[in-house]
């Protein structure tokens, strides 16, 4: 998981939604393209073909692979989620469809189905721990590991790209809910102070 990959992928499209009342910086990202790939992840031949076509390694369980302009995340035993810029989605989707064409598979543009937020600051692990029933401690939630769980009342996926930076995706219809929730959870004065 390289730092460079993240900066190039998401930095250009981020809008800060937090202010000086928050102890983390919270951003929303607007130019994130997403493609869902359903396939048999036991099929080594298919995975090699995809790796070759997309130029990105296949992630193992709960892992995110990265290149300078794409991410590939393991979502479930038969699902991967591919990230690229929105402008690239059509091309990459066609490429994926071509590659998987003779296999039982499904690939769809889901760029508009989800929204992307990120958190920056020393206490990202702590803020996530306020909302998700998972162990976010340093030796438990690793960099580049994707965790699908809930943030308070909505399902979400979370991963840390660096020690001070977390990315969060959830469904578009609850954008306002998650936005408000994240801002509330890092209000100054509410620091937990365990780690």
């Amino acid at each position: 998981m390289t730092k460079v990959a993240v900066s190039k992928m998401f930095n250009h499209s981020k809008i800060q939604i937090s202010d000086e009342t928050n102890y983390l910086k919270v951003f929303q990202h607007t130019d994130v393209g997403m493609i869902t790939l359903r396939l048999d992840l036991e099929n080594q031949v298919l995975k090699r073909k995809l790796r070759h076509a997309l130029g990105i390694s296949m992630p193992s369980v709960r892992q995110i692979q990265a290149t300078t302009d794409a991410l590939l995340a393991w979502m479930s035993p038969d699902e991967l989620l591919y990230f690229c810029t929105k402008s690239e989605v059509v091309n990459r989707l066609n490429l994926v469809k071509e590659t998987m064409t003779s296999y039982h598979s499904l690939s769809l543009d889901v760029s508009d189905a989800r929204v992307v937020f990120s958190l920056e600051g020393g206490k990202v692990r702590e803020v996530i721990a306020k909302l998700a029933p998972i162990d976010t401690a340093i030796n438990s939630l690793e960099l580049g590991e994707i965790r699908r769980t809930r943030l308070s009342q909505v399902a979400a996926a979370i991963w840390l790209t660096e020690e001070n930076r977390a990315t969060i995706i959830c469904f578009r219809s609850v954008e306002k809910y998650l936005r408000d929730l994240l801002l509330i959870s890092c209000k100054k004065g509410s620091e937990v102070g365990v780690w």
Binding site: V61, R62, S76, I134, T149, R150, A155
Partner: protein, 109 residues
């Protein structure tokens, strides 16, 4: 507040990330079955005081269904395993037999 290891994505999943799915290894009866068989399929459940096999879905996680062997009295979990099987794996039934020498659930023991 239970916690189960999801056999698909390997995480310890909090109960609030899961949806309970009732008894596992139900035998489905469809067209051609007798009224008694069909009624039993729909409504009869083991409801044991002890070892129970049940289904759970990792709804906020990988979305997959898995089965768990759990004691309904002490909440001890003897193991979790993928749901695509007609009977529990032997590692789990052996584990149960070690801890509960006399146990019986449907035709497994």
């Amino acid at each position: 507040m239970l916690i189960f290891e999801c056999p698909y994505c390997g995480v310890l999943a909090d109960e609030t990330d899961l949806a309970a799915g009732g008894e596992a290894h139900l035998k489905r009866f469809g067209p051609g079955s007798t009224d008694d068989e069909f009624e039993a399929y729909l409504f009869n459940r083991e409801n044991p005081k002890g070892v129970h096999f049940e289904r759970w879905r990792h709804i906020n996680g990988c979305g997959k269904w898995f089965n768990a062997a759990r004691c309904t009295i002490t909440m001890e979990v003897f193991g979790t395993y993928p749901a695509q099987t007609l009977e529990p794996p032997t590692e789990i039934t052996n584990n149960i037999s070690i801890k509960r020498p006399v146990w019986k659930w449907k035709e497994f023991s």
